[in-house]
């Protein structure tokens, strides 16, 4: 509602008269002078002008309506014949008209609803009308409108009379109650009424503010059971068929909009109450309903509403939770009764803890972790929010119990571990890592007698460790979880398979394609028993696609993703995971495009991802912002550095305002900018930004924090570019020390730091140190990613280059022989430029005095280099010069080779 104007503002009536030109002279001048200074009045004037434009058309419409009312005269006459004098029309719907009428026998005003007779009403409408009267009459509650009378009209048609509520819609009244607690009390009384209906076996199915009027005493009154459905056994089924939607979209539940009347039950009313609660709390609708209809449907079935606290102050986390729980798309995760919803509202009103708490927090966490690698701090925040989480059932009861049990166990155990930190309880990343490790070490003994519980915890731990980048430790946990489930549950149990596929995905991430493929083959052996719509198909197909990407089988990956897409499209559109899966697939499409180095396609995919996340999560959601930044990265790859720069600049500007300068996303965007500046050769700017980011991170998080270390690393990389190798080396050393302390020598992050430091000290000529670091890095990558991972192989090459530069021919020869042998498999060979490696191998052999063998290799390498890099490349030219010096004209040889190949 609009706030009353300040004392100096003219009354609305005067402003309106001004707009109508009905004011003159000094009065008009005074008001005009005021409005020119007063923003509120200026706004009001604009509204009044818009109103004025509508009025002539409205009068026409009303005249046409009056013409129609004249056509209704016979109806009015027939109502008079049964004892009701029509006063005026109250509203008109598809099936009937509601009049305000005077009941002559009692001399009171009532509302009379008339079912139109004749061709306009069908048998189904009549049936519904009768049902409405029957069901309404069966209810007796002070908050439900009472039915007085029913009967036939002389001219055909039916009517019923009910009490006339002099009231206004719930949301309008709620908006006028300033105190949140008053609004909630009102809402709780509404719950009373609906609970009463449910107890009598009546589901309303069309709850919305217009059907809940608040009367003069402030009591909510529920009316219009026109779409209600009986639930009790013995009652006739409603005249609703599959595929048909009844209700009002803005308040309809996912099961209603997807046309599944068989799924409609009391929880459908719970959902509608959830929408109303959302409105009552925030004054807004949980989903945008002003776009095209199809979008609105999609929002209802797929979109995740932002917590109501986003829109209004005074709403705490518990109210958010209550509201979102009532709005859950998955009926099993909703409040299972109005009772439960009301109980939580009353609990909140009396400052007691609510039962819902964070809706299945652990479940959500796990999902989130699977979708995105969260930084450890974010993870900790989520973990800390989990205390007391209640997991709600899914699927069948036994499955649900199992799920609930395992989730709860895992949760409690981890929370215990996490909260055992001590009095400081400062969430520090390294502690999370330590805690996870401690939990991993303890889980065996803590649940020695209960392998299934143990598996549950190991599964969660595995995901957390994986998310933290501790791949091999994650692998250990998932492997153990899978084995325990396989041995104590069943090899083809849905849960077992899920863990198995997750493990395969982790191995894929590590570049260990062969064992990953084996696991997937094994999982698929049971697949013939899976239903077509079994969720495991999606997981399996997607994992196969990711594996294919890793192996460079990009066409296969594409086909697999298409199959996974088909699976999602054929699946249940109301499933709460649908939207997530859609996003995952788009994300994967972006990744695939990246592998193909098809940056245009990557741009398209990430553009779509941005669109989806905007739709589902809103602009401000971190996942949306992350998608935007990936999009920026894609266009950066396309060489549109300026565009990428402006995108990131915009992100920085927007996010700094909404999320704050220090938000991780702002930092991420600015880091991207640093990279762009570096690419553009704007090194002073890059350096300045990198220094600023480091200073900010250091001030905010302290010198040893993950983000500070990351910022330090970035500055070091920039300095390396500017040629300040010594400074770069000092910083990189700090980074390496911190990474090692944080995650251990064997982690991938530490290996990356070692590699970067090696590159810096290498440029300073500190070869011994560089060599040692490279060996560490290679060992780290080897352990975490595997010997065939791209990074492992490329780092090995760096060490090889170092050997060659230092003329350590024996070591170089051995290294390249091994490197070439390791990448001999065609799918790996295609991913690397092996010509340069072979050239180095040949040079090493020449250096060792095995000239003939060496030159032969260089010749071979030259052919590869021509193919891979072209004739103008410096290494190709170097190879050609070597061959010339060896007395061989490279072109002659190639020509001879070609001739030789074509002769018998």
């Amino acid at each position: 509602m609009s706030t009353p104007p300040p004392p100096s503002c003219p009354p609305l009536g005067d402003l309106d008269r001004l707009v109508q030109g009905a004011l003159a002279g000094a009065e008009a001048q005074a008001i005009t002078a005021h409005t020119e200074r007063c923003a509120a009045c200026t706004e009001r004037l604009a509204e009044l002008r818009a109103n004025a434009e509508l009025v002539p058309r409205l009068r026409d419409a009303a005249r046409r309506g009056a013409g129609q009312a004249a056509a209704d005269t016979p109806l009015v006459e027939s109502l008079r014949a049964v004892g009701y004098d029509v006063v005026r029309e109250l509203r008109r719907g598809g099936q009937g008209i509601v009049y305000v009428a005077l009941q002559r026998s009692t001399d009171r005003r009532v509302a009379v609803k008339v079912l139109l007779s004749g061709h306009e009403s069908s048998a189904r409408h009549r049936l519904r009308f009768e049902r409405e009267v029957d069901l309404s009459a069966s209810l007796d509650h002070p908050n439900i409108v009472t039915i007085f009378d029913r009967g036939d009209l002389p001219g055909g048609g039916r009517f019923y009379a009910m009490e006339l509520v002099d009231g206004r819609p719930l949301d309008v009244c709620a908006a006028e109650l300033p105190a949140l607690r008053d609004r909630l009390r009102l809402f709780a009384r509404l719950c009373d009424a609906i609970r009463h209906a449910h107890q009598r076996g009546v589901i309303h199915r069309d709850l919305k503010p217009e059907n809940v009027l608040v009367d003069a005493r402030g009591e909510p009154r529920v009316l219009d059971f026109g779409l209600a459905k009986p639930t009790l056994p013995g009652t006739e089924a409603t005249p609703t068929r599959s595929g048909e939607f009844v209700g009002t979209l803005a308040f309809a539940s996912p099961e209603q909009v997807s046309g599944r009347p068989e799924r409609v039950d009391v929880r459908t009313d719970v959902y509608a109450l959830g929408v109303m609660l959302y409105r009552v709390l925030s004054g807004r609708h949980p989903h945008p309903t002003d776009g095209p209809l199809l979008d609105a449907v999609r929002h209802v079935t797929e979109g995740a509403p932002p917590p109501p606290s986003r829109h209004a102050s005074g709403i705490d986390g518990d109210l958010d939770t209550i509201c979102l729980r009532a709005l859950s798309k998955d009926v099993e995760r909703r409040y299972q009764s109005v009772d439960a919803l009301q109980a939580d509202i009353l609990a909140w009103l009396s400052h007691r803890p609510i039962a819902a708490r964070s809706d299945s927090g652990w479940y959500v966490l796990r999902k989130t972790l699977r979708r995105h690698r969260l930084p450890a701090t974010a993870l900790f925040v989520v973990l800390a929010a989990l205390a007391g989480a209640v997991i709600v059932s899914r699927h069948s009861l036994s499955e649900a119990q199992l799920e609930a049990r395992r989730a709860r166990t895992a949760n409690e155990f981890l929370i215990d571990t996490l909260t055992a930190v001590g009095p400081g309880r400062e969430p520090v990343d390294t502690r999370v890592v330590d805690l996870m490790r401690r939990a991993a070490a303890d889980v065996g003994t803590a649940f020695a007698g209960d392998p299934v519980r143990q598996a549950a915890i190991r599964e969660e731990l595995g995901h957390v460790l994986w998310a933290l980048g501790l791949y091999s430790e994650g692998e250990d946990q998932l492997q153990a979880a899978w084995e325990q489930l396989r041995d104590h549950l069943a090899a083809d149990h849905a849960w077992t398979t899920r863990v198995q596929i997750d493990l395969a995905r982790l191995l894929t991430d590590m570049g260990r394609a062969a064992p990953a493929a084996e696991l997937l083959d094994d999982a698929q052996r049971h697949a013939e028993h899976w239903a077509r719509d079994d969720e495991r198909w999606f997981e399996l197909l997607r994992c196969r696609a990711l594996l294919a990407m890793r192996r460079g089988e990009l066409d296969d990956a594409e086909t697999l993703l298409a199959s996974a897409r088909e699976h999602v499209d054929n699946g249940d559109p109301t499933s709460s995971e649908r939207a997530q899966r859609d996003e995952l697939l788009v994300d994967d499409a972006g990744a695939l495009a990246g592998w193909r180095e098809d940056h245009a396609a990557a741009e398209a995919a990430y553009g779509k991802l941005v669109e989806l996340r905007r739709l589902h999560l809103g602009d401000d959601h971190p996942h949306t912002q992350m998608a935007m930044q990936r999009y920026a990265q894609a266009i950066m790859q396309r060489g549109r550095l300026d565009e990428a720069e402006s995108q990131l600049q915009r992100a920085v500007a927007n996010l700094s305002e909404t999320a704050g300068e220090d938000s991780p996303l702002v930092v991420f965007a600015r880091t991207g900018l640093t990279w762009i500046y570096m690419q553009q050769g704007r090194l002073p700017e890059a350096e300045e930004l990198a220094r600023e980011l480091l200073a900010a991170a250091s001030a905010r998080h302290g010198p040893d924090h993950d983000r500070t270390i990351g910022a330090r690393n970035n500055l070091a990389v920039v300095l390396q570019q500017t040629g300040a190798f010594e400074q770069a080396a000092v910083l990189q050393q700090e980074v390496l020390d911190a990474r090692r302390a944080q995650l251990g020598h064997e982690s991938k992050t530490a290996a990356i730091a070692a590699l970067n430091l090696a590159l810096a000290v290498g440029r300073l000529g500190r070869y011994e140190e560089a060599e040692r670091l490279l060996r560490d890095a290679i060992a780290g990558f080897d352990r975490t990613l595997g010997p065939h991972a791209r990074r492992t192989l490329l780092t090995t090459n760096v060490l090889g280059v170092l050997y060659v530069d230092n003329e350590r021919w024996g070591e170089a020869a051995a290294l390249y022989a091994d490197l070439l042998a390791r990448t001999d498999a065609p799918e790996l060979a295609a991913q690397f430029e092996r010509g340069a490696w072979r050239f180095n191998h040949g040079m090493a052999l020449v250096g060792l005095g095995r000239a003939q063998q060496g030159v032969e290799l260089v010749r071979h390498a030259h052919a590869e280099l021509l193919r891979e890099r072209g004739a103008d490349d410096s290494v190709t030219r170097m190879a050609a010069r070597v061959l010339e010096r060896a007395g061989i004209d490279a072109r002659d040889i190639d020509a001879r080779d070609a001739a030789g190949a074509s002769s018998p």
């Binding site: 109103n51 058309r57 069908s122 009231g167």
Partner: protein
């Protein structure tokens, strides 16, 4: 007109269903009839044209050729209605050639006005019907007194002071009632436009 359920209604049309057809007809017939009348057709023929156009739409829908993402329903209906009006004119012109002048049909134009003008006529008809249904709907959302003040002051164009005296309110309250109802009507109109 009932709000929101347009898409669902269309889905129901996929199986021939009398009730769905009646609903559909009830909702979208009126704008087509008005359009056709304004294009010069007599009421009876306008009703036939509307029936034809809607049948044509249902056919399009059942064949899956109507893509909700690409065009608004009202635009599709316009295209169909315009085509039917054009057909009717051609027939009428032929009939005129064959029959003596005094028996000619009352079509005032030989050619359809340009698309812009036809579109404008369509939009007018459509918006009228939308506004009428908004007016129907808004009645349920306000206190009876507010509505009575609105109807007397705005629709019946009675002086604010008279309305205030009759209803026992201040004349500024009458203006406030006017403002609130009109504001709500504008919102409803925007809502409706966005869903059909």
């Amino acid at each position: 007109m009932n709000w929101i359920t347009t898409t669902v209604l269309l889905d129901r049309l996929a199986d021939a269903d009398d009730a769905a057809w009646n609903d559909f007809l009830g909702r979208f017939r009126e704008p087509v009839v008005r359009f056709a009348q304004r294009m010069g057709l007599p009421r009876e023929d306008a009703e036939d044209v509307a029936q034809d156009a809607l049948l044509g739409f249902v056919d399009t829908w059942r064949r899956g050729r109507y893509d909700r993402l690409r065009g608004r329903l009202s635009s599709w209906l316009f295209v169909l209605a315009r085509q039917r009006v054009l057909d009717w004119r051609r027939r009428a012109a032929r009939d005129r050639e064959r029959s003596p002048p005094e028996a000619a049909t009352p079509a005032p134009l030989h050619e359809l006005p340009d698309d812009g003008a036809a579109r404008h006529t369509w939009d007018t008809s459509w918006q009228e019907v939308v506004l009428e249904s908004c007016l129907d709907r808004v009645r349920g959302e306000f206190r009876p007194q507010t509505m009575e003040a609105f109807e007397a002051f705005v629709l019946a164009d009675r002086p604010a002071e008279d309305v205030a005296r009759d209803l026992g309110m201040t004349s500024n309250a009458v203006f406030i009632a006017k403002h609130r109802v009109l504001k709500r009507l504008r919102e409803m109109q925007a809502d409706y436009e966005s869903i059909a």
